[in-house]
Amino acid sequence: MHSVLLVVAAFLACTVEMVEALTIVLAVAVTRGWRSAGWGVAAALGGLVVIVAALGPALAHLPIDALRLVVGTVLLVFGLQWLRKAVLRASGLKALHDEEAIYEAEVASLRASGERAKQDWYAFTVAFKGVFLEGLEVAFIVVTFGGTQRNVGLAAIGAAAALVVVLIAGTIMHAPLTRVPENTLKFGVGVMLTSFGIFWSAEGAGINWPGADASLLAVIAFVVVVAFGLVALARRAQAIPEVATS
């Protein structure tokens, strides 16, 4: 059960990051050409492989409780920020993340940036930056999720599945993945990251959860109730009647 949740959480979190990276790459490739954008993507992936190869194995040598305490705490801070944004978006206090608008803005900015050269360094840099930064977030998720469970492979399976799904969807649509309900996905990811963060940091601090691993489900349910409760309260405070979690 725990392993399934780990793969699902890694899959969802990585999907969000990959959709964002793909939106940038598609915008660059469509407006400035695929060649330089492709080199940018390849260079970024190369850099990421080096970072993960350097950081991943180091985690295996750390004591598991200390690892859970530190990684769980970082994951909880990180997850709560994600959940906070998701609650603000769902309650109408923050604009919904719109991949189509981001894509259009990126395309307009790239078109405005002038003539293409043979090796388009502008396209290379934008594609590199997009893939490297989003990829760094994917690497962080895989290394922390996997490292805390002493199973980087399992988290990597979730990330690889996300990559396959996003690439297939991107190839079919050949446009930004506007049909992916990104805000709903982010809400789910915020809940998962926060729940895993609570569970691992408490465990690392020396707490024995009642019901052991099964209590993770109760933690997830609790976080869902709190998040939806806050969305409802925030909507009521603003008197916004419409439901907008997607």
Partner: protein
């Protein structure tokens, strides 16, 4: 040096994000749970409760700021 500052800002924005009080609250609560657990108090409920409160305070603060 500029690259290092940008790298640091990326990780700050990535992990700490918009509300630093959440990070401070989480670290303080986890430290409290650690101390309690090492004095034979199995306060498993403390962290979920603190998370709910921190999120509620942060959302309320943001709501007041935006609606002001």
């Amino acid at each position: 040096m500029k690259w290092l500052a940008q790298f640091g800002k990326f990780w700050y924005d990535f992990i700490i994000g918009d509300d630093w009080r959440i990070a401070v609250g989480v670290v303080a609560t986890v430290a409290g749970v650690y101390v309690a657990a090492h004095h034979d108090h199995d306060w498993w409920w403390l962290l979920p409760l603190a998370v709910a409160l921190l999120l509620a305070v942060s959302i309320t603060h943001e709501m007041r700021r935006r609606l002001r």
